[in-house]
């Protein structure tokens, strides 16, 4: 559905994206993870043609590219981007905003009421945006893109400023959208939350994708234990070669090639570290994030 080929975005003194390539298909939620200023928003701007890269192509459905305005409009009929809550019109109501998006993409506003009811916005959606809190504005932005209901959605910072209940509400809605066959990109700093609905998570560093983590496929499992650097140094020589020590605190021992007896032996050995929680499972988004961005 979407293909990015050798995308490069370079300013005079800075490389933001460097030969980045990516493909994505419908019915997928792709998480995009990276620290601030690494190029997540730039990538979204390139996908939606708000920024023309120095090099590279963005192709939709095998043949549509941003070569002319007519083709851009054809692409934009299928693509909506998450608006920033600071850009909302203060004097208009939430419903006005939702109807704008519904009208521009769907051509009808019949579904708007259902959306704001699902998102529990009835109490304020008919009031002017200037009366809204940050969380309410953020929810409105999500409601707007839901009203657009396009096959492809780019959501940059969708969970920003939301409390636990709202994060859960929107996560559920995202999963529903995935069932409807949408391709959704979610750039988020709520790493554990991404694990709930994303099909894969992409990690950006140095302008390129350094790792793609598939979440629904079976992945290698590890024994994970928090260890101080001193504790790790004492243990290091006994650990298998392919172990990981992430961000100076998390020791991860792969159990893929271990027999049951070896696994039991390691459980006993590691349980000697009192007060620490030993978990067994695949590496999550948090762990990968720490691995790629906190190690020096």
């Amino acid at each position: 559905m979407l293909k990015l080929e050798n995308i490069s975005v370079k300013y005079k003194d800075k490389v933001v994206l460097d030969n980045l390539s990516l493909t994505a298909k419908s019915g997928e939620i792709i998480g995009l993870v990276a620290p601030n200023g690494t190029g997540k928003t730039t990538l979204f701007n390139v996908i939606s043609n708000f920024l023309k890269p120095n090099k590279g192509n963005v192709t939709f459905n095998g043949d549509l590219q941003y070569k002319t305005e007519r083709k851009e409009i054809s692409i934009h009929k299928q693509l909506a981007t998450f608006p920033d809550q600071g850009d909302l019109f203060e004097e208009l109501t939430g419903v006005d905003h939702m109807k704008l998006y519904a009208n521009m993409w769907k051509g009808t506003t019949k579904h708007v009421k259902e959306i704001y009811e699902q998102l529990q916005m009835e109490g304020y959606v008919k009031k002017k945006v200037k009366t809204y809190s940050l969380g309410m504005r953020q929810r409105l932005c999500f409601a707007m893109i839901a009203a657009a209901d396009t096959p492809i959605m780019l959501m940059d910072g969708v969970m920003n400023g939301l409390d636990v209940a709202n994060v859960s509400l929107i996560s559920k809605r995202l999963m529903q959208m995935k069932q409807e066959g949408k391709l959704i990109f979610v750039a988020s700093h709520l790493l554990a939350n991404l694990d709930l609905y994303a099909d894969r998570v992409i990690y950006l560093k140095g302008g390129d994708i350094i790792h793609q983590q598939p979440l629904n496929e079976s992945t290698d499992e590890y024994m994970k234990l928090e260890l101080t650097p001193e504790q790790y140094e004492k243990l290091a020589y006994t650990l298998p070669d392919d172990h990981l020590y992430i961000a100076d605190h998390l020791c991860c021992i792969p159990i893929k090639n271990m027999s049951m007896d070896e696994q039991k032996e390691w459980v006993v050995r590691l349980s000697a570290y009192k007060g620490k929680e030993l978990t067994i499972g695949p590496l999550g988004t948090v762990e990968y994030y720490e691995k790629y961005y906190h190690e020096f």
Partner: protein, 386 residues
């Protein structure tokens, strides 16, 4: 999508306080102007004629000095004697004599004699007492119109034209330009404050531009017409000055013709409509180029004043003259043709030129937008502004 987008833009316009300020101004400007102007009652026709007669009489003092020595001056003297006599008769016929037909006949003869005097080079008449050729032609056209349409000449029958021409002198030109520039100064630029909400709509740039220009034009023109109607109603009731069949002079093909006030107003408002569209398109272009609402007004004003600046600097820049055609009142009255020394500037030429400029502006806007899709980023990536 276009009409839904237009509806949204209309909603934004209605929520904008600046729009309401401009609307209120347009609504009440004419009426307030008429109220102010009503403190000065127009000089009635009989008094005007009396002043003209007395002024004309002063010419004899200069002619007397030379007529015995110069035969040309003597000839001018003879003509002027007839003119003076006819002026006296006109003053009688407009006053107690009450004979419109004879007033007109006398007037036509006076004009004919004055043109003869012009043929003789106005010998012996000082500069400040010469009746300009344009004034004679104007008077002639006016009288012919009144005669052909069988209109009565009464002292206050010119009141309508008087009030209308005064308000349009004030409004048409710089004030009108400023109002439209202020109204349209943020047409594209405001989108930068709501970029992530408004970007990415599946709508072409030219459709957006058409929508914005259309909405602004409709709202400006509606309030302009309403305001003028309100003002005219006030003037008609207060001064009994609702006579729209009375003639107004317009400049055409290096001559003056008289048309009814009603027809004149149609020309004026058609001209203002075209000028409004042109200025709104110019605002769009300036927004695209400078991305600054304040620059829009400043540069728009600067462009309008360019011909004046060029003239003051001594440059005869004829190619800048079309900028002044926005002042449709001056074009119609012929004042612009005289001011710029270009006798070809009449309403029809001005409207054609303004139409061509409008089409050119649309072409430039379209071209700039199209060019953004063909530009190749070199050292830096290219960001889409609108």
């Amino acid at each position: 999508m276009f009409w839904k987008y237009t509806r949204f833009e209309t909603k934004l316009l209605l929520k904008n306080r600046k729009s309401w300020f401009v609307a209120v101004f347009l609504l009440f400007f004419f009426m307030l102007f008429f109220m102010y102007y009503s403190q000065e009652t127009p000089v009635p026709l009989d008094k005007k004629k009396a002043i003209e007669r007395d002024t004309s009489y002063a010419v004899f003092e200069y002619l007397d000095l030379q007529r015995h020595d110069l035969p040309e001056v003597a000839e001018v003297y003879n003509y002027h004697t007839q003119i003076q006599s006819l002026l006296g008769m006109q003053t009688w016929f407009i006053g107690n004599g009450d004979d419109s037909e004879q007033y007109i006949e006398n007037g036509l003869e006076i004009n004919s004699l004055r043109l003869e005097v012009h043929e003789l080079g106005n010998k012996g008449i000082p500069e400040h007492l010469i009746v300009p050729r344009e004034e004679i032609l104007k008077e002639d056209a006016l009288l012919h119109y009144i005669k052909d349409n069988n209109l009565p000449i009464e002292s206050d029958s010119f009141a309508t034209n008087h009030y209308i021409s005064n308000v349009l002198t004030m409004f048409s030109g710089l004030l009108f330009l400023v109002i439209v520039l202020i109204s349209g100064n943020e047409m594209l630029v405001y989108e930068q404050r709501h970029q992530s909400v408004l970007r990415g709509f599946p709508l072409s740039f030219m459709q957006k531009v058409t929508s914005k220009v259309m909405i602004h034009f409709v709202y400006l023109y509606t309030f302009l017409l309403l305001g003028f109607t309100l003002g005219s109603t006030y003037v008609a009731k207060k001064f009994d000055a609702g006579e729209f069949s009375f003639p107004v002079l317009i400049y055409k093909n290096e001559d003056y013709i008289a048309i009814s006030t009603g027809q004149y107003l149609v020309y004026i408002f058609l001209g203002l409509a075209l000028a409004t569209i042109l200025i709104l398109l110019l605002s769009i272009l300036l927004n695209m180029l400078f991305r600054n609402a304040f620059a829009n007004i400043l540069i728009g004003l600067g462009i309008f004043l360019l011909p004046d600046i060029a003239m003051a600097a001594g440059f005869k820049a004829t190619f800048l003259h079309p900028i002044k055609y926005i002042d449709i009142f001056k074009v119609l009255s012929g004042d612009l043709a005289i001011e710029l020394g270009n006798s070809s500037i009449d309403y029809w030429n001005a409207m054609t030129t303004l139409g061509i400029i409008t089409v050119l502006l649309i072409g430039v806007i379209y071209g700039i937008n199209k060019f953004t899709y063909h530009r190749v980023p070199k050292e830096v990536p290219l960001e889409k502004a609108f």
